[in-house]
Symmetry: D3
Subunit: 162 residues, 6 copies
Amino acid sequence: MSNDEKKLTHIDETGAANMVDVGDKAVTERIAVARGSVRMLPSTLQMILSGNARKGDVLATARIAGIMAAKRTHELIPLCHPLALTKVAVDITADQELPGLVVEALAKVTGQTGVEMEALTACSVACLTIYDMAKAVDRGMVVGDIRLVEKRGGKSGHWSAH
Amino acid sequence: MSNDEKKLTHIDETGAANMVDVGDKAVTERIAVARGSVRMLPSTLQMILSGNARKGDVLATARIAGIMAAKRTHELIPLCHPLALTKVAVDITADQELPGLVVEALAKVTGQTGVEMEALTACSVACLTIYDMAKAVDRGMVVGDIRLVEKRGGKSGHWSAH
Amino acid sequence: MSNDEKKLTHIDETGAANMVDVGDKAVTERIAVARGSVRMLPSTLQMILSGNARKGDVLATARIAGIMAAKRTHELIPLCHPLALTKVAVDITADQELPGLVVEALAKVTGQTGVEMEALTACSVACLTIYDMAKAVDRGMVVGDIRLVEKRGGKSGHWSAH
Amino acid sequence: MSNDEKKLTHIDETGAANMVDVGDKAVTERIAVARGSVRMLPSTLQMILSGNARKGDVLATARIAGIMAAKRTHELIPLCHPLALTKVAVDITADQELPGLVVEALAKVTGQTGVEMEALTACSVACLTIYDMAKAVDRGMVVGDIRLVEKRGGKSGHWSAH
Amino acid sequence: MSNDEKKLTHIDETGAANMVDVGDKAVTERIAVARGSVRMLPSTLQMILSGNARKGDVLATARIAGIMAAKRTHELIPLCHPLALTKVAVDITADQELPGLVVEALAKVTGQTGVEMEALTACSVACLTIYDMAKAVDRGMVVGDIRLVEKRGGKSGHWSAH
Amino acid sequence: MSNDEKKLTHIDETGAANMVDVGDKAVTERIAVARGSVRMLPSTLQMILSGNARKGDVLATARIAGIMAAKRTHELIPLCHPLALTKVAVDITADQELPGLVVEALAKVTGQTGVEMEALTACSVACLTIYDMAKAVDRGMVVGDIRLVEKRGGKSGHWSAH
C-alpha cells in the first residue's frame, strides 16, 4: 500500500477525531517496546548512580512511575482504548556516552488493539520522573528520542525499528 | 554554590525518595515553559496539516490532551505536589525543516513550588497524542527534545534556556 | 414480565447498594446510543458556530471530553463495571429550532454488560463542556433531554426509544 | 456591555481552546448551586421511594456519587481549573408532579474562579447514578433541566436564575 | 513446595520490581473475600448505629467507597493488573464485643489473575471511610485485622483462612 | 465538651452524608502522622529484607505507592476535601518481634482542614503494596493497627496517641 492511500485512522470522513472501532479485530497477543533517554550533565549522572542517593531509589521510583503510567494511558491519550494489560516492565540503564539514562519500556496485552501507546507512555513518564528527581541539580536535562523499537502481534505482525 | 554541594532534593539522608517539604517556601507567581517535538516523515506532516484530517482536529486533540495531563501531573510523577494551576496553555506549530510539529506548553501557579513538571508533562502528552493519531501512517516518528525553556518565580527568579 | 415483578437490580435483598454480578452473562457485542442537548440563546449558538471561535475548537473540545469521560464511567457511577470499550464516538450538531447544540454519543463493547451508562456519561460531559466554554456569554443555558435512544446486544436484544 | 462584545473566554485570538488565566482574579468566597432532574415512570419513583430498596441507599449512593464527581470536575471538563473545594452538598427530593427526582448540588470554594462547573457536574453525575440504579425497570428515564440556579462571589457578585 | 523455593514474584532476577506476566495464565472465574474491622469506643459505635446519623448513610457511604476503591486497585497498588471486575460487594456489620464495625469485601473476575488485592483494597477504604466519618468524636479508632479470608479459582484452587 | 454533645460532622440534621464546610476554618499548618503494620511469617520478612529481592525495591515500591495514594485521598474517601499537600513521607522499618514491617506516614498541609485521612491512606496503601508483593509466599499476612499517632495544627492543637 502506498503512503498516499494510508489514512489517519482516528479522523473520520467528516474530519472529527474519534476512537477507532476495534471490535472486529482479532484477539491476539500483542507486545510493544519503546525506548527513550534523559540526557544530563556527567556530574548529574554520577550523582544519581553513586552520589547522595541510593541508586535503587531514583531508578526504582522512575520505574514504578512508568509502570503505573502505562496503566493510565487511556486516561491520558484521548483516543486510546482501555486495555487489560498482562505485563508492563521498565528497565533503566546508564549510558556514559550520552551521558544519561536510557529507559526501555515493554507492554503486553491479549486483546484487539496494540500497546504502542502504553509502552511509549511508560517510557515518557519514567523519563519525566528522572527529570523531576534530578532537576534541582541540572535544569538543562533533555528528554529525547522516545520511539517505538519493536511491535509484535496484530495484523501487521512483527516489526522492529531497524 | 558549586555543583558538588547540590543535592538530589527528593532523596533524604537515608537515601529514601520522598516529597520535598515546600511548606516554608514563599507563595509567588510561578511560570514554566517547556518545549518538545515530534519528528515525522514529510508526508505525515503534510497529511496532518492538510490531508484527510481537518488541521484543527488533530492539533486540537493534542492540545486538549496536554492541558488535561498538566492537571494530573501529581498523579503521574510520584514526588510532585498537587497544585492549583491558574493557567495551562499548549501551542503546536509546524516545522518543515524538522520535519514535524513543535509543541510548547506553559503552566502557571500562585504557590509554593514550581511548575516545570506540569509544563513538561503537558508537552510530553501532547506529543504522544500526535504520535497516537498519526501512527497508522508513520510508525517511525520520534518524540524528542523535551526540555524546560523558561522558568519564572520562586527563589531562583527568572531562568531561560539560552 | 409485569412492571411489578421488576427489581432495582443494584439493591440486594437487604436493601444495600451493590454491583450486580455479571459473571454469568453472555459475552456479546453491545452498543448504546444516548442523546442530549444544550439549549442557549440564539446569539450564543451563533457565536459558537461562527463567532470569535473556530467552530472546530469548541466542538472538538466537547467531543474529546465526552470520549474521555466514557472511559471513566466506572469511576464516576458507583455501581458500573469497568469495561474494555471498543469504540466511543460523539457527534455534535447545531439545531436552530432549539436553539442549541444536540450531542449524540455511541459506546460499544464486546462484554458481559451493557454500555448505556458509558453513552450517557459521554453525552453529559460533552454537554457540560459546551456549557463551560460558553458560560461567560450565557449563564442561562440548560443541559437537557439526556436519554438513551438505542441499545443493541445482550439478553434484551435491540431496543430503540420509539 | 452588549452581548456582541462578550467573548468565549476559553478561546484565544487564534481560535485555540485554552484554560483562562485566573492568576490575577481576586480570592473570594464563591458559591454555585445547580439543579436538575430525572423524569421517570410513576411506578419507578414509587419503587425507589418505597419499593424493594431502602430509600436511603439509592439516594445515598447518588448523593455520594455527585459529591465525589464535583471533586473531579477538572479531570472531566478540559478547561476547568483544579480547585480546593471547601464544601460540596447534594440534596435529592421527590417530585410527584414530574414525576421523578430533583437533584440540587452546591459547591463552595475560597479561590480565584467560580464553581459553576463543579455544581453542574455533581448534579449531572447524581442524576446519572439514579438512572443507573433504576434503568433495569425503566429504560425511558430522561435526565433534564440541568442548569445553574444561583452563583455568589467573584466579579459578577450575586446572581440567581429568576 | 517448600517455602524456601518460593519467590517474591514481583521482583525479577536483577531485583527490580515489575508486573508479573499473566498472559499465559488460564482464564478462570476468580473470587476473593477480605475482612477487616474498625475498633472504636462503645459510644461511637452507638452513635453510628442509632445516634444523630441514619444508620443507612454512614454505612452506605463506606460501602460505596469500598466498591469504588476496588475498581481503582490497579491505580493504587503499583504492580496490580487492571481487571474487568464482574462483581464487588461490601458488607458491614456491628460487633458489640470488639466494639466496632466489621467490613467484609468480595471481588470477582473472569480473568487471568486473582482479585485478592481488589477485595483487600475495598475493605481498607471502607474502613478508612468509617474512620473519616466518625473521627470528630473518636480520634483513637484503629483499623485492623485486614486479611484475606477466602480465595477461589486459578491454579491454587480454593483456599480459606482456617 | 462531653462526648454526648459531639456530632458525626459529616452527617447533617436530616441524616444525609455531606462534606463538612471548612470555608470558615483558619488556615494553619497541619500535620498528621499515622502508623500501621503488616504481620507476616518470619521467613517472609527475611525474604523481603535479604532474600531474592533487593531490600530497596520492595520497600521503595511500597513507599512510593503510599506517597501517591496520599495525594488521591479525596478521590477515595467520599467526604474528604481536596488539599494542596506540602509534604508526604512514608517510612518503613522491620520489626522482628511482630514479625513484620511497620509503616509510618506523615502528611502536611497549610490549609483549612486536617490531614489525618491523607496520612492514614498513605499508610494503608503502603501496607497493601507490601502485601501484594509478598502474597505469593505468604497468603496469611495481616494488615493491622492502622491508627493516628500524632496531629498538629487546627483548632484542637497538638494531640498524640499516648
